[in-house]
Symmetry: C2
Subunit: 371 residues, 2 copies
């Protein structure tokens, strides 16, 4: 859901991509991004493409051909990072878990120590499963072997503690349409000084000119023309980031946590199970299992057509098995929690499902308890 102030920002008069005002704007975005990513990094930019372009920028710049690239994957987006790294000619070593199953910290550490890669990548918030992966064991082991750490923060930024510096993440990227309450179109990215140093020492040219981070550095910080970045999209992003700063980054996380816990209480009261184990769940995206005998496509169709509500289904090994229900950014409110629970329950009842208990009461109780 896009915040009303962001919609307004989208129709502010456009300025050119080399206008002094444009660079004031990108400077504000740089500073706000540092705040929301909890980092002292100075290289904070919005790549001119969607979240996947940020993933490709991270991989294309740091996965030099022939380099060993260690990937920890337990979902679709982890696998996508591997696909991109292979296309760049990197040698990809994988530690893979079932979709939605956590990594054992010790196993993750040993994998990295054994492989001694130059780059380690993982997905902090896996949109395909609703799972949060802890950065700490990964980045500690990566730094022991002098590897850079890439973290996909597409579904965590703005809704959960990304904490780039504290977590030892070198390269993080995200999108605008989730925790930042903007339309899609940009990929906010932060890069550590250590990673930039590595990039400057890189031997081969980055295959992508469009996503070459040193060229982008020259543009955003050196004001040297590269491509025509969109002031319109940056107005929106600045507004989305300002909303977070005004609420307080940590207050925003707490709001997401509280609404997530209430949603889970309601789901469990209804008699549904969550796919991801407690303590590993995203606060932004919930993945209840589709109960026995229910067709998830019919549920989604009912919600879209009768309630104007778009939820996603599972895919890959989770096709037909989970719902993926986003409550994030501007959309993470107590009202939405109750509304979605009620609508989901109606959709399930349409297919003969009998709720175990009172989901609304459970969610309200949870909201009351965690206020």
């Amino acid at each position: 859901m896009v915040a009303p102030r962001v919609y307004e920002a989208l129709s502010q008069p456009l300025v050119g991509h080399l206008d002094p005002y444009f660079f004031e704007l990108s400077e504000q975005v740089r500073s706000l991004l540092g705040h929301v990513y909890s980092t002292k990094n100075e290289f904070n930019i919005a790549v001119s493409g969607t979240g996947s372009s940020g993933m490709e920028a991270a991989v294309a710049n740091f996965a030099e051909p022939g380099v060993k690239f260690a990937l920890l994957t337990n979902g679709f987006f982890g696998d996508r990072i591997g696909e991109m790294a292979r296309r760049q000619g990197a040698g990809v070593a994988r530690l893979a878990k079932n979709w939605g199953e956590p990594f054992d910290p010790q196993e993750a550490r040993e994998f990295i120590r054994r492989e001694r890669p130059r780059v380690v990548a993982f997905v902090q918030a896996e949109t395909s499963t609703g799972m949060f992966n802890d950065a700490r064991p990964i980045s500690e082991a990566a730094h022991e072997v002098d590897a850079l750490v890439i973290a996909d923060c597409v579904t965590s930024l703005g809704g959960m503690p990304v904490r780039v510096d504290e977590n030892g993440i070198d390269i993080a990227y995200s999108c605008t349409q989730k925790g930042l309450s903007c339309p899609p179109g940009l990929s906010p990215m932060t890069v550590s000084p250590r990673a930039l140093e590595r990039l400057r020492a890189r031997k081969s040219t980055v295959q992508s000119w469009y996503l070459d981070l040193l060229l982008l550095e020259g543009y955003y910080f050196g004001h040297k023309y590269h491509h025509t970045a969109s002031a319109t999209m940056l107005y929106a992003l600045r507004e989305g980031l300002a909303l977070i700063a005004e609420e307080g980054v940590e207050n925003g996380w707490e709001r997401h946590r509280r609404n997530h816990l209430a949603f889970v209480s309601g789901i469990e009261a209804m008699g549904l199970r969550m796919h991801v184990a407690e303590g590993h769940r995203l606060w932004t995206l919930n993945t209840p299992c589709v109960p026995e005998g229910v067709d998830d496509a019919r549920v989604r169709q009912y919600l879209l057509q009768e309630r104007g509500m778009e939820i996603a289904g599972g895919f890959g090994p989770l096709a037909g098995k989970v719902f993926r229900i986003g409550l994030m950014g501007h959309g993470s409110t107590a009202e939405n929690v109750l509304m979605v629970l009620e609508a989901l329950e109606s959709a399930l009842k349409q297919q003969g499902y009998k709720p175990a208990g009172d989901s609304r009461a459970a969610a309200e109780k949870s909201l009351g308890a965690t206020v």
Copy 2:
């Protein structure tokens, strides 16, 4: 300049990137793009990035490593295509002219026949010089040797006859912020069936996952998830394209031609020369030479600060030598021609320049004569 209806479109409520309504929207964009590109191609999409991402998509998909890539360049953006092709590992053969100097058709044909490349690229509308390059001799020779033709239409689409089919162009890309009167952020692209066939037969994987055209085909036409395209940007693009269709594509070209001719009449009356020879000029972007004794940076600063008007300077070999003045899309109006002439004349006078004659009268006469 962004059209008011496009600003309105930007704040329409967002829908998801796999919503049925999203695909209705992308289908409308597909059809309108075919109309504005004057093509029967079915592969018309908007790449989720700026014009340069369209350039990179064209190059990365068709310049396979080791393949011979012939480039005709007479400006900055032509050189940029070469840089991208080299990064993709193609063998680049160049026919280069000075910035703003036309290709001799016979020389262009002979170059292509001699090199026998798999791909030929050129810039139809060179933003760095204000020059229009004729596609015909290039594409005729390219097709003789069974090469694909890539044309950069960044500054022609919507303002001049691109005529993809008639000109034998296989892959064309453009941007949204020039002739289409939208903010930057997407790259409208069209690909011929012949080029798609070549792409399907390609042996190596495209290095860019984000810009892999066959994956994008699966998304836009097969509705298989790839990335999260921005409905917001597509609303804007649809509106910009609809404005062109409502006016009539050819009427729009004629409007640009008429306003361009009037502007040139005014410039010449003022005593300035145009950098590009008559008959080779863009109707969208005018490049008068900076007169002797005038500092172009001061002119641009005056226009920006005193008149709120942004014009561009020359760069590379044309640094300090030309102004680059865009009058395109929604901004190509008789009123703007007269306003820019008056403002430019004031700026020049500030530096002691004495206009030769009455630029306003000359422009008005031209407008009257070509109505």
